[in-house]
């Protein structure tokens, strides 16, 4: 039953996104524009930005995530459907899981564009043979982003100034993700791979994801309680 509910909710979010194309397109465009601005802003001063590439990528992805997470409950809010979901016998953790999976898919779609562009704009030296390691880093970071984003977007849903509250809550929670994501990317991009450093950062991301999963599961019922 829970699997059927989860699949139905994810399918619904993807159907809405395929029909409206509002979130992923906006996120991809935002990320590209931000990378271009960073390239023009920094690239002309320092020819080799390799050691900053991870930081630039994860700062870009963090701000892009705020954009996507901010839209995660837009359909329910604007079309006033939330009561329909809440009156159904759906465990709140299934609502959380479905939104988190949708955000994860949106982030992955953005990264398909962003990760190669970072290599083109900012990395001198070996990069493409590191794509697999960076993709694993991105997947772990995306789980953190999706869980934290779903929790905070649920909290912000019931506040008046939700568009202001969400970045204020969400961006600080992303600081460890940006640090670890940038560190892990730096460890494998643009030179000899430092796999022990990469592994350490990835373990940190995994631990952070587990922490947010536990916090979310423990609190999500209360988020949707009156």
């Amino acid at each position: 039953m829970r699997g059927r509910q989860l699949a139905a909710l994810v399918r619904k979010d993807l159907r809405l996104e395929l029909r409206t194309r509002e979130t992923i397109v906006a996120m991809v465009l935002f990320a590209i524009v931000m990378l271009v601005i960073l390239e023009f802003g920094l690239g002309t001063r320092d020819g080799d930005l390799t050691r900053f590439a991870g930081g630039l990528m994860w700062v870009t992805l963090a701000f892009t995530a705020v954009l996507g997470v901010g839209r995660s409950y837009v359909a329910e809010r604007e079309q006033r459907v939330l009561d329909g979901l809440l009156v159904a016998p759906v465990p709140r953790v299934v609502l959380l899981g479905a939104k988190a999976i949708a955000i994860l898919i949106y982030m992955a779609a953005v990264e398909v564009v962003v990760i190669p562009l970072v290599g083109i704009f900012f990395v001198k030296g070996p990069y493409w043979d590191s794509i697999g390691w960076i993709a694993i880093t991105a997947l772990l970071a995306d789980v953190c982003i999706a869980l934290a984003g779903t929790l905070f977007s649920g909290l912000a849903l019931f506040t008046r100034a939700r568009d202001l509250i969400l970045p204020v809550l969400f961006l600080p929670a992303l600081v460890p993700v940006v640090i670890a994501g940038a560190g892990a990317t730096h460890a494998v991009a643009g030179g000899p791979h430092d796999m022990s450093e990469w592994r350490g950062y990835c373990l940190f991301l995994a631990a952070y994801a587990i922490l947010f999963a536990l916090v979310s599961v423990a609190t999500y019922d209360a988020v949707f309680d009156d």
Binding site: R4, T20, Q79, L85, P89, V90
Partner: protein
């Protein structure tokens, strides 16, 4: 089906529902009336498990609320002011979503029957955004009935239904009486609902001020109780 004792809900300092007792037997259909702000919709949302009581006890379909709210929800059908459907999904996709959320075993056949029943079969593959308000509300009626609920909770259901939709709803409420299902119908139009309700409960300032069988109803009493002023 419903047992409420001393239900209270407050928005800040203001008590929207203030010590309400309510019993609902199988097959019983109760009209819930009162002036704007009397607490009708809040009480209905409490029965629908959407609003947690601040005080008092509530049992819905044998399940204590809020502790066993999820079990109660399987048997609740809720028709709100808003149709509670996604505008950018088709009518069928909306019902498929709710069919999966409620675990409806014969989902596709049930959806086809209901869409036909509410007169939306030919628009089944159209997005709800292209529907009129009345059509969206007929889809909401299908959504409410999809999982064969035992308790119907309806918030001003006749307000945006056209004549055919309203007739379909009335037939459902008559069938509910015969099947032993129960219904609570929030309304301002007591005369309209009198045809399908067995009992009238009037709220004023969050309190029950009248609870009477429909047969004993004096319209003047209702008007006086709405406002607290003699007509």
């Amino acid at each position: 089906m419903v047992t409420a004792r001393g239900l209270v809900h407050a928005y800040g300092e203001r008590r929207a529902v203030d010590g309400v007792d309510l019993d609902l037997a199988p097959g019983e259909r109760v009209a819930l009336a009162g002036a704007n702000g009397a607490g009708k919709s809040t009480l209905l949302r409490m029965l629908a498990t959407l609003v947690r009581p601040k005080a008092g006890t509530l049992t819905v379909l044998g399940h204590a609320i809020p502790d066993a709210a999820r079990a109660a929800r399987t048997g609740i059908g809720y028709l709100a002011h808003d149709p509670l459907v996604y505008l950018d999904l088709t009518a069928r996709q909306n019902l498929e979503l709710y069919g999966d959320l409620y675990g409806v075993a014969d989902r596709d056949a049930r959806i086809t029957d209901l869409l036909d029943d509410v007169g939306l079969a030919v628009r089944a593959e159209d997005t709800v955004r292209t529907f009129s308000r009345g059509m969206a509300q007929r889809l909401a009626l299908a959504r409410m009935l999809l999982h064969r609920p035992r308790l119907l909770l309806l918030d001003e259901p006749h307000a945006s239904l056209d004549a055919a939709g309203a007739d379909r709803l009335d037939r459902e409420l008559d069938a509910a009486r015969d099947d032993g299902r129960a219904a609570v119908i929030v309304t301002h139009d007591v005369e309209r609902v009198a045809r399908v309700a067995d009992r009238l409960v009037v709220l004023r300032a969050g309190r029950v001020v009248l609870d009477t069988p429909m047969g004993d109803l004096d319209p003047m009493d209702v008007r006086r109780l709405y406002t607290g002023v003699a007509p």
